[in-house]
Symmetry: C2
Subunit: 467 residues, 2 copies
């Protein structure tokens, strides 16, 4: 008896709830709004967008064509929701800001939380940024100046400047009264920092702990001591690593003197994780940045460097092959077989690069275990090489009718796969040691080497043993 088999089988796809259904911005809704914008049907547009969350509205703007976007912005200008701006993709944001106009945007930015305002200003293109900076209140302009004094992508730029810090001798009751009476608190927060007289953080107390204890209890008895503090100059990728590693929800940011100057919370870190993971993925794929919303010219520019490097590497391969033109002219089947060796080598190399880059980003791979991973790469390369060499050698033998051709290609496959697997592991590790970003530079370095080596090995062996 087979149980658990419903009569009408349903696929997981049909059953699983999708985020779009919940959020109300399905492709159908987007298409309806786009059509209404094309038709100039203002009533339909207004009705469709009235219930959208600001993040959905940002998503909608991104998905529209340039003309539709401009029409929508013109329509929304008088009641534009400032919260939309931080949610937009960088290149779309620049267009939206330009269309909205300096006055509207400056007003919107002045009304935002300071960290959102700085984030938006930070990411505007040069002439726009200057215009906006000139139009916002002086207080915010000064804050921006302090902000850009921190290195790009540093904890100092990521942190919020509003936080609750209390002295060690306060009680739960005093702390609660302080929070009830102070208006300049962040909108939401999860921990309170306890600081010494020199304003250095000595402990953190989660709000749930404050709430669960009686008023006379001293705050310092509830706190987690010696919190991990983040220097303001630390790179955001390192900050994200610490949050993940230590399961943190928030962390105090300190200046060079160890004084508390801000707080980073996990929701800021989510964006960083997202960004960094996306960057690694795009860089490994040979793209400098997400160019989905970029213009054609920008897209070509972001993809150009990788293609150029690849072209040089392809010319090098062509040069290697040309050295053996005599051999190919005599045994033409080599021309058909040689891409097999290069292609297998390239793919085995990319696999190793991918695993190594990810492991380096996760700090699972360090110099402490690099040697062991290289040894493993050699074994994997040898075994994979032997397996695929047998298959490829047999097929080449059957195809060409020459056993020696099969033997030559099999040997070339073993050599190339070992080489590619080891190099794919070693290159990212070496690049990291040299201070380069392994996700950016590993791919080009690897491809240049594996292709040439594959052709050199195969055609070299062929010249030695087949002529």
């Amino acid at each position: 008896v087979v149980e658990n088999t419903p009569e009408t089988p349903r696929t997981e796809e049909e059953q699983a709830p999708q985020a779009e259904d919940l959020l109300g911005l399905s492709p159908e809704v987007v298409r309806r709004i786009a059509d209404a914008l094309d038709a100039g049907d203002a009533a339909v547009v207004d009705k469709a967008i009235e219930d959208l969350h600001y993040a959905e509205f940002a998503n909608l703007i991104e998905q529209l064509s340039d003309e539709q976007r401009d029409r929508l912005i013109d329509r929304m200008r008088p009641r534009f929701d400032p919260d939309v701006l931080p949610e937009l993709d960088d290149s779309v944001r620049n267009e939206v800001v330009e269309r909205l106009g300096t006055a509207t945007v400056a007003r919107a930015i002045a009304g935002m939380d300071s960290d959102d305002a700085l984030y938006v200003i930070d990411r505007l293109d040069e002439p726009l940024q200057r215009d906006i900076l000139a139009a916002i209140p002086k207080a915010l302009r000064d804050m921006h100046e302090e902000h850009v004094a921190f290195p790009e992508d540093s904890a100092g730029r990521l942190m919020q400047r509003d936080f609750v810090a209390v002295p060690t001798f306060w009680t739960v009751g005093q702390t609660i009264e302080f929070m009830r009476e102070t208006s300049a608190l962040p909108y939401e927060f999860y921990v309170i920092f306890v600081v010494d007289p020199r304003h250095r953080p000595v402990g953190t107390v989660s709000l749930s702990r404050v709430l669960r204890h009686r008023r006379p209890i001293q705050i310092s008895t509830l706190m987690e001591q010696n919190p991990i503090t983040v220097p303001a100059t630390m790179d955001q990728e390192e900050v994200a690593y610490i949050f993940r590693q230590q399961d943190l929800v928030s962390a105090p940011v300190v200046d060079a003197g160890g004084r508390l100057i801000g707080v980073i919370t996990i929701d800021d870190v989510v964006d960083v994780i997202d960004e960094e993971a996306g960057e690694d993925l795009l860089n490994l794929g040979g793209v400098r940045e997400d160019d989905l919303y970029s213009t054609v010219v920008e897209t070509i520019r972001t993809r150009f460097p990788w293609l150029s490097i690849n072209l040089c590497s392809a010319f090098l391969s062509a040069f290697v092959i040309s050295l053996f033109e005599g051999t190919i002219a005599k045994i033409v089947v080599l021309a058909a077989l040689m891409p097999i060796v290069a292609s297998m080598g390239g793919n085995a190399g990319v696999q190793s690069v991918t695993v190594t880059v990810r492991a380096l980003a996760m700090k699972e791979l360090t110099f402490a275990n690099a040697r062991r991973n290289l040894s493993k790469a050699i074994v994997v390369g040898v075994l994979n090489g032997l397996i695929f060499a047998t298959v490829i050698g047999s097929v080449a033998w059957a195809w060409s009718g020459r056993f020696d051709v099969g033997l030559v290609i099999a040997s070339a496959v073993v050599g190339t796969l070992i080489f590619a697997t080891v190099l794919g592991t070693a290159i990212p590790i070496l690049l990291t040691r040299l201070g380069a970003d392994p996700a950016v530079a590993s791919g080009p370095t690897l491809t240049t080497m594996t292709d040439s080596i594959a052709f050199l090995t195969f055609l070299g062996l062929a010249t030695l043993f087949l002529l």
Copy 2:
């Protein structure tokens, strides 16, 4: 006068604080412990590990060799910190659990937070999992049974079952008293849920809002109404998307009847984002999963499918080339030039696939804007094609001394680059529509096509016009 130029220039690398320095598990520390384990120097080992955070200890275990790991575990068994287990990589965890023994592990799991315990049990290999399930308390075993009733990677498996829910008519004072008097609360939490008499969530109140208001105020006046609820069957990737999209810190999980059964907080979502981004990266690189800590045999198994598919695609290319052996035999320089066309096509295709897969994962690309992106892909393909065709054609002309060879390769480059760019955009979109994971299947599908098309176009044109 040049200002801001310090006398001894320092690179960013030297200045930027690194997470390892802060956390105290530098490669040097790992190496020192590894050496001490090899030498059997127990005192050094004990001293070095005594201050490690559980996450650092997990990291240390991962970086050791098998023999070192076993020695360390044997030494730590009597005082093993259960919190280490959830932090370990899956394949390392299985080894550690096996070495620790069922009794020790069952005791450790029984002492964990329920969500951590379920997470660990969930990820054990089959025979181990059965042993552990038999050895843990019945209450936890029952909880595990409920847990696995939810689909894999669903919100129901991700959620915590402990949360604070209060009725709408309670006041701030009542809520605070309740939290002070109830011991069975989660260790840390950020929001309180407000539920109706049928236990359906009607609002959320952040702890900071509770703390900032006077005791007689009714909770329902402080709450954010109509919170976004997550169905327990929703896939965790969708959950992560909603959190990012709506900037959520926590969300109530509801059953089919809309009743509150758990809560997902942003720290759970961080792990999901991390996992999903890593999966996409690895899959695009042709690896099924992170195999850094896998044995050699497992590593070969995770890399085998991609290499096999690639082999079939390489054989197809070889077959295409073999159709033109006559042409190559007459103009041998074609053999040297043809990999250039294939390589440029492959890389342009991978760039498009990468951008498209990322955009699909971020839901920036949907069917609503798919057509516009395909049009852009055509334009990018044409322009990139023309640029690189000019360079490649000129070099080929100079090299071979034949203008017609330059013209043929230039035409082939334009055709292949358009084809690859469009296909690299279309394949992931189509795979998504068909319900397949674009990160897994796009690469193989693309490579198979671009290589063959490149050789076919180039050698076909050569046969037509050069002979």
